[in-house]
Amino acid sequence: MRIRLKIWRQESNETSGRMESYELKDVNEEMSFLEMLDVLNEQLMEKGIRPVEFDHDCREGICGQCGVMINGEPHGPLQHTTTCQLHMRTFRDGAEIYIEPFRADAFPVKCDLKIDRSAFDRIIQSGGFISVDTGQAPEANTTRISVPVAESAFDSAACIGCGACVAACKNASAALFTSAKITHLVKLPQGQTEAQERVLKMVSQMDAEGFGHCTNTEACEAACPQEISVLNIARMNWEYNKAHIMRK
């Protein structure tokens, strides 16, 4: 198949960018989307054009490093699928495909499709953990956790930190990411001791990074490759409100 590409090119954080058009013939529909970009890059290099920089690593949908806007949607048109798991058979012959980086002021573009998502790390640093030093842990089976609780904690913990939720949100809010971690930890008995402090710190860090407000459009859930539920956001709000009322 033959496709036409419009790709965001931006040499560095300091320069401005623009959309550039490329054409690819002989695209195999069994190719993954990123393999298509590999082929494009080989052809660009043959012509002496700087290859398109994009983030990717595991290429099996779990590391969360890949992630671009494809035809105006995070990770492209297939629901609950990361960019690396998207295959060219999803597109028709002759298709025009727009590729842009995830955009948010908290995710500055580094080069082409590469962005800086370290804001997510700083949110986790502010409190997204259970404070247990190596060696302090008690015998694992002393804490019983029912299957539904463990499973629902897992649902929240499944986040891969790709940033599609922020990219999809009209306000570039990081509420889904932040709440998934808060919810994962507060659902488990081990995580409850620090629940109050954690939610206050993480929300405050989320705000400091310049993410917008959550206005509950639920676009994040629709864009999330891991199907993280917006009810995590409700849980974060609940914990936050509780912490506010209870704190001294």
């Binding site: 560095s12 590391c63 790390d121």
Partner: protein, 636 residues
């Protein structure tokens, strides 16, 4: 010359004895000690967080955009620990024995025993961190059986155990970053080790955003940089996985042990075209219910469902009636390759075999199969667009795990004092074949429970050293060398990008240093790789003059692979026996099974770098079996 520093005494006393007699660093002195940790996977995050908690000053580096993306994240199945929660007869000794036997008796007894001994603690630690392991209805932790052992000792978090364990370690690391004990640099790649007066004293890293080189000094350096299976180009590994950190340490004097022992995983998705960049792994657990077959007729073009039962060759069940489809990974992969090479492979490229669930679906119902493997079937459909409930999956072997790596002693220290290697980057515990669910365990145990003790033994003598001066001539020289190499790679301006050479190298290694090897094949592979290396330095193309430059990163890694690949062939060529993942065609029984030679080859091959144009030098560390007797692994 090679002293593994294994403590005296009975097997079960060694680690305790070591821990009680090792030197310690006083808490007040720890803040005077700097440690560099390269890599933020399970081993790297675990050691960096643990040292941070103890009060050391840690600098941590990873090439990904955040620490949480290291490839430990992709491990699916589970993590072994001998908790004996199932009351089914598990014990430290049994786990030790399973692991050493699974490794075909090519690992150290003391190391493997310690791995089993520390496994229980890991589960405690992970649960305390909030890892949502699978539970039973009463709320206690659940186990599954894995990889052909007779007890249930595998803990799991759905099919994402690696992700959840890594997030636990990552969060512990983030906590230390926030506390100021760990300084984390993401998008930084280590390009050189700095050795001063024989001790590892720092690294040169490249900032992958600005392109700048940085010097970092420390009293000890830990490499936790994972495996180098990506050397085969097509592998189950992440695109960025590489052998550069350990290779550059090797060139500075660290020995590499058993580099050719690579686990080729039997159940990965086959290559579908030239453009392909990686092979996705399908969990081994599928073999619990799937049956593997190829058509009995060569070059059979019929769709699988039209091939009648009597014209199918269930070759694993035929050759290994006792274990059938559950034979260990090395054996299953080799049997698949045998059929494919004989011309019975299926699929457009004739490079795969069928994994068929029709009998299991018939017996247990589709719902039961969906409940067990729904996510894997969904993933299969996503990638191939084939519904595996109605048509068999196509699978084929793919490079997966490096049993080999930097040689380390019992303290996980390499042959360079002050340089440690943890997790998959060392060679220590898996012998010639790794058992399923032992890799997560080893990475975690190394990072949480072993290195924090053994490193203190070295660091105790460093409290008076004072800060490491990065203006030292050794830093100067190392940085110059890196700079020169980068400039050289950019200036070749040939016509092929790095991937071209990488792909060709992968092809040579799969053919001649993969599932089966022969002296003739390995000798020709060495010549092929030398030629390829020659071409690389003549024809490489790297875009010039950009700060962010993925092609330059790749070129550096491929340059190292082109040397490491040759070492792998030397390693395989000198080992005139078949053991675990290493199968030499000359050393097999009449019915095609591996023939181990304990008399002449019960040793670890540790290789020393002798310069680019000289063959590597082999050191042998003999393996002594005091507590177990090596037996023939039979799965017939």
């Amino acid at each position: 010359m090679l002293d593994a520093k294994i403590p005296e005494g009975p097997l079960e006393e060694k680690w305790n004895y070591y821990k009680s007699h090792t030197k310690l660093v006083n808490p007040a002195n720890r803040k005077k000690i700097d440690v560099i940790v390269v890599g933020t996977g399970l081993a790297g995050s675990a050691i960096a967080a643990s040292l941070g908690e103890m009060g050391y000053r840690v600098k941590s580096f990873c090439f990904q955009d955040t620490a949480r993306r290291a490839h430990s994240v992709a491990a699916q199945g589970g993590v072994n620990a001998c908790k004996n929660y199932k009351n089914d007869g598990d014990s430290v000794f049994r786990m030790f024995y399973d692991t050493i036997k699974g490794g075909d008796f090519r690992s150290r007894e003391a190391n493997v025993y310690r791995l089993a001994e520390c496994s229980a603690n890991l589960i405690d630690q992970a649960v305390a961190q909030g890892v949502p392991f699978g539970r039973e209805y009463a709320g206690y932790l659940n186990n599954r059986s894995f990889g052909g052992v007779q007890v249930s000792r595998t803990f799991y978090a759905r099919g994402q155990t690696g992700q959840q364990l890594l997030l636990g370690a990552y969060q512990a690391l983030m906590r230390q970053v926030h506390a100021g004990h760990v300084q984390l640099s993401t998008r930084h790649e280590m390009l050189e080790l700095v050795v001063i007066d024989g001790k590892a004293r720092g690294v040169i890293v490249r900032d992958l955003v600005t392109g700048a080189l940085e010097r970092h000094g420390a009293h000890a350096v830990v490499l936790a940089t994972g495996g180098f299976g990506k050397i085969y180009f097509l592998s189950t590994l992440a695109m960025g996985c590489n052998g550069s950190a350990i290779w550059r340490a090797h060139k500075k004097g660290a020995l590499i042990a058993n580099p050719s022992w690579t686990q080729i995983h039997p159940t990965s998705l086959p290559q579908s075209g030239e453009y392909q960049s990686k092979l996705t792994l399908m969990s081994e657990s599928l073999r619990n219910d799937g049956r593997i077959w190829v058509p009995k007729k060569e070059d059979d073009q019929r769709p699988p469902n039209q091939i009648p039962e009597e014209e199918r060759d269930y070759y694993l069940e035929r050759r290994y009636p006792a274990f059938g489809n559950l034979t260990p990974r090395d054996i299953a992969s080799r049997a698949a390759k045998e059929r494919i090479d004989a011309g019975y492979g299926i699929g457009p490229l004739k490079n795969a075999v069928y994994l068929d669930f029709s009998r299991a679906i018939g017996e247990q119902g589709e719902d039961k199969i969906r409940e067990k493997y729904g996510n894997l079937f969904r993933m299969y459909q996503k990638i191939t667009n084939v519904n595996a409930y109605t048509e068999p999956m196509r699978i084929s072997p793919a490079a997966h795990f490096s049993m080999g790596g930097l040689w380390v002693d019992y303290e996980l220290m390499t042959s360079i004092p002050g340089l440690y290697a943890l997790g998959e980057s060392n060679f220590a515990d898996h012998g010639a074949n790794r058992l399923g669910a032992n890799s997560l365990l080893q990475a975690c145990v190394d990072g949480y429970f072993i290195a924090p003790y053994t490193m203190a033994n070295f660091l105790a003598d460093e409290i008076r050293t004072g800060p490491i001066d990065t203006k030292h001539p050794a830093f100067e020289a190392a940085e110059e060398q890196v700079k020169a190499q980068l400039r050289m790679l950019e200036n070749i301006q040939g016509k092929h990008p790095a991937d071209y050479f990488h792909r060709n190298l992968g092809r040579v290694l799969y053919d001649k240093c993969g599932l089966s090897r022969s002296a003739a094949g390995l000798s020709s592979a060495i010549a092929d790789i030398q030629q390829l290396r020659h071409d690389f330095y003549k024809q490489l193309y790297v875009p010039r003059g950009f700060a962010i430059n993925t092609e330059l990163e790749k070129a550096g890694r491929v340059a190292d692979y082109l040397e490491l690949g040759e070492l792998m062939c030397h390693d395989a060529l000198t080992r005139n026996e078949s053991c675990g993942a290493h199968f030499r065609e000359e050393y097999q029984t009449p019915d095609g099974e591996a023939m181990r030679n304990d008399k002449d080859f019960a040793f670890i091959s540790a290789w020393e770098w002798q310069g680019a144009n000289n063959p590597p030098l082999l050191h042998k560390e003999p393996l002594h079996f005091e507590f177990v007797t090596p037996t023939v692994r039979s799965y017939k």
